[in-house]
């Protein structure tokens, strides 16, 4: 299978700051999730892919083409930026038409395409309103509309689910699958794993400008599961609870970060969460709070970037 995007040792600097640092990854056809914390280099990677930035070193091939300097090639790419970069004085329809005109579409064709794309994201009734009056969710949908209106082969969506309500997320997912079924390739960036795992099993994880892991979501999950999961518990008698939890074979370590706190590291969070209620009942333990510190993926990224892969 030919990769849609092939990145080999790609480095991009902003002066002293490294945007991408030897990024190597292969994006297969279909939908791929680009997962990484804020500042990981996701937007830099997208802007390199569409030729807005020139890479400093390495090789980057998109749909079999080099990217930098290939102006006409950008017609094959649809880009939905993360920022709410818009022209607030325009109406939604004018906005999409204006960008289609930059693709070289004649006015009539641009108007027709804009209407279809706006219909796709269900903004027809708001298309004549000024963008300044759009909500964040509406802006996201309109940005998506402009990214698909010119019928691109590859669609880059930078944090497209930000600000979209749950219903919008579900329908957006359906739309992306529909686009995929039409042969489009889609890369969706996010800093939240669960947002993307509903869309695809193909994941590339990025942090500090490097690809940390790539492949099937289940393989990535295995990597994450190999990383001890940290859970904080609030209890008036942490030492008693520690004695109970210490009997679990998947518990790696126990700490006492505060007078009424317990920090547990476990190699199997699922088994821990399953066993905890029974232990609490058996030992009459008083557990008043529970927080999984690893709910935030930053901890996993740190673990992988420190050599966990």
């Amino acid at each position: 299978m030919t990769a849609v995007i092939e990145a080999s040792d790609v480095t991009k600097r902003y002066g002293e700051v490294l945007g991408l640092n030897g990024f190597t990854a292969s994006f297969e056809p279909g939908i791929t999730g680009l997962i990484g914390p804020n500042g990981a280099g996701k937007s830099t990677f997208f802007r390199l892919v569409e030729g807005q930035l020139k890479l400093d070193s390495g090789q980057l091939s998109v749909l079999g083409n080099p990217t930098w300097g290939e102006g006409a090639f950008r017609r094959r790419i649809g880009y939905c930026p993360e920022s709410s970069a818009m022209f607030d004085w325009m109406t939604g329809e004018e906005f999409v038409i204006a960008l289609l005109r930059l693709d070289g579409f004649p006015k009539a064709e641009a108007r027709e395409r804009a209407f279809r794309a706006i219909s796709t994201v269900d903004l027809v009734s708001s298309r004549e309103r000024r963008l300044g009056t759009y909500s964040k969710g509406m802006r996201q949908r309109l940005k998506l509309a402009q990214s698909i209106a010119h019928d691109p082969d590859l669609i880059l969506l930078d944090e497209p689910l930000n600000g979209v309500d749950p219903l919008g997320r579900a329908t957006l997912s359906a739309l992306l699958r529909d686009l995929q079924s039409q042969g489009r390739h889609i890369i969706v960036s996010s800093h939240v794993l669960y947002e993307v795992e509903r869309l695809t099993d193909q994941i590339v994880m990025i942090a500090n400008g490097r690809a940390l892991a790539q492949g099937d979501l289940h393989r990535i999950r295995d990597l994450i599961d190999a990383h001890p999961h940290v859970i904080d518990l609030d209890t008036p008698d942490p030492r008693a609870l520690a004695r109970t939890l210490g009997t679990l074979d998947h518990v790696v370590s126990i700490e006492f970060p505060g007078p009424n706190q317990l920090r547990v590291r476990t190699r199997s969070p699922d088994a821990f969460y399953q066993a905890l209620p029974d232990l609490v009942l058996q030992e009459h333990a008083d557990v008043r709070g529970l927080r999984s510190l690893d709910d935030n993926l930053d901890a996993v990224f740190r673990y992988l970037s420190e050599g966990g892969r």
């Binding site: 930026p81 818009m86 930059l102 796709t120 209106a149 957006l172 039409q182």
Partner: protein, 275 residues
Amino acid sequence: MSISAPRYTSGPLPRLGRDSRVMAIASREFHHRAQWTVLVPVTLTFMTVVLTTVVNVFFTSLVGTVTSATFTAAVSSPAWPYLMLIVTATVGAGTLADDVGSRAITLYLSRPVRLLDYLVAKTVGCGGWLLIAALGPGVLAVGITAALGYATATVALEAAGGFLVVGLLAAVFFAGLAIALSSLTNRALYAGVTIFGLVLTLDIGASIVAGISGNSQVGYADPVANVLAVAHQAFSVSGTSSLDPGVSAAILLLSGVAMWIFAGWKLRRVEVIAE
């Protein structure tokens, strides 16, 4: 929100060329700037130049002969360069700053649009208003006076040529100034204030330094003095400026172009700002 992606007809699509894409941006920019903040100073410029010129030509025709020098009244006073300065600040300050500030520039450049195309288009959009303010009033005044019979066709043509030269040079200089200063910030207000402040400082500063040092050559650092020197020459008014009009014209032209090139260089580094 519906769940079906749009279906488009397959096969080669009709796409317009590079010039059409540039004009699409330029046209959008031009229309976007048509706001009262721009229309008011442009209208003021028209009223000032047309009224001053027509009235001056009318009274001159009553008592003597109208020549091309008669038409210089409006543009050889400092009022005209300052009105142009206000138009420049209101039209040009946001030309690049608005796009960089909102990061909308990434949307332009995600299309098959080169940075150079973008810069040219933005300059055309902004420069269109500057040309209207710089050339329009003079040409209109010449047309009115010729139509009313206050000036002969030959004199009217000479005067129109004068307005053309001065207007074009002023438009080049002020467009370059606006684009350059707009590229330095992501806030239009800062660019606008800087445009006004810079020219005002050069105008007043050069006068003070020239007065103290007794060196009139310092006047070449003053854009307003350069515009006036060219205007005097273009309308055949002699002996009123200590600056060489040729040198002044060259300074206006070259500095306008140089500032535009600077903006292009600065824009290449916009990735750092936008990131």
